[in-house]
């Protein structure tokens, strides 16, 4: 089982390297994150006496899982609201205001710009080609998954 331990250790080391080395939101620093993990994978797979395919399956699975959970902790509004409520009850309006102060519209737009998905100018089409590609993919999957981006808005507005 040394192979599993070495791969796990390599993955944890790569994740920690990203944690300390990349001081941006993961989604907007994907290139750097992938580079760190690629380097970590090569070293760990070389040290671990495991078949290359098994190592790739392991690392890709762990990467998607870590990335998904990390991004969720980073950006989830629901989780942040729970955290904001830790000191006591708040009205809906207070919660929204405090959330917006923490990671509001301007901060999110800035992050989209930093991630190369939007340009700074506010003309009619501020999306970059990368942004348009993301929009196409997201639109396809949202339609396919049947996601209603506007679901639940009306009742929540009442609370605010």
């Amino acid at each position: 089982m040394n192979g599993l331990l070495i791969l796990t250790g390599g993955f944890v080391a790569s994740a920690l390297a990203v944690e300390f080395g990349v001081r941006r939101k993961l989604q907007s620093a994907l290139g750097a994150v992938l580079a760190v993990h690629a380097a970590g994978f090569v070293v760990a797979a070389w040290l671990a006496d495991v078949g290359a395919t098994a190592a790739v399956v392991f690392w890709s699975g762990m990467f998607v899982c870590w990335f998904g959970i990390r991004c969720h902790v980073e950006s989830s509004i629901l989780l942040r609201m729970v955290y904001l409520l830790r000191h006591g009850p708040l009205t809906g309006a207070d919660l929204v205001r405090r959330y917006a102060r923490h990671y509001g519209e301007a901060a999110r737009l800035e992050e989209l710009e930093r991630g190369g998905l939007m340009t700074k100018t506010s003309d009619r089409s501020p999306l970059t080609p990368k942004g348009h590609a993301i929009v196409r993919i997201a639109t396809f999957f949202r339609r396919w998954f049947g996601a209603a981006a506007t679901a639940g808005r009306s009742s929540a507005r009442d609370a605010v």
């Binding site: 495991v50 078949g51 098994a54 190592a55 998607v64 899982c65 998904g68 609201m81 999957f141 998954f145």
Partner: protein
């Protein structure tokens, strides 16, 4: 490539296809669990000489399934993505409304209760808040 690795890779591909094909999370999870279970069953029928590859691949496939569940959630619910889609349509998203839509979810998922005026954490919510505090501090995201 050994037999275990070939079957493991086939299961990885099957989970990837299920991600795109299955519209509902429950169906995607069922397909993924079936693929992982099939792989474990295959490993159990071998002579045990490739046990490390079996363990490594099983961990990888399980993590892949869980990770893709998070990715599906991100695609469906990300507000940054909402904002991007609105911009692409030449519109601007109502940020406050998008954020406010999540208020009800604190109650829906039993994380908070609502007395008609204010939201308050439930016992489950308080436990979550402690874990979140640790996670936010560890990742430098605490206020």
């Amino acid at each position: 490539m050994s037999g275990v690795e070939t079957i493991g890779l086939a299961c990885w591909v099957a989970i990837s296809i299920a991600f795109g094909v299955c519209r509902w999370n429950a169906l995607f999870s069922t397909a993924s669990i079936a693929a992982i279970g099939g792989f474990v069953f295959y490993c159990a029928t071998t002579d045990g000489s490739d046990l490390v590859s079996c363990a490594v691949t099983t961990v990888g496939l399980t993590a892949y399934w869980i990770g893709l569940l998070f990715v599906r959630s991100m695609i469906s619910r990300s507000i940054s993505l909402d904002m991007l889609l609105a911009r692409a349509a030449g519109d601007t998203a109502d940020f406050d409304a998008l954020v406010a839509a999540r208020l009800d979810e604190t109650v829906k998922y039993k994380l908070a209760s609502f007395d008609g005026r204010r939201f308050q954490l439930t016992a489950f919510g308080r436990v979550m808040a402690v874990f979140l505090g640790v996670a936010y501090r560890a990742t430098g995201l605490a206020e």
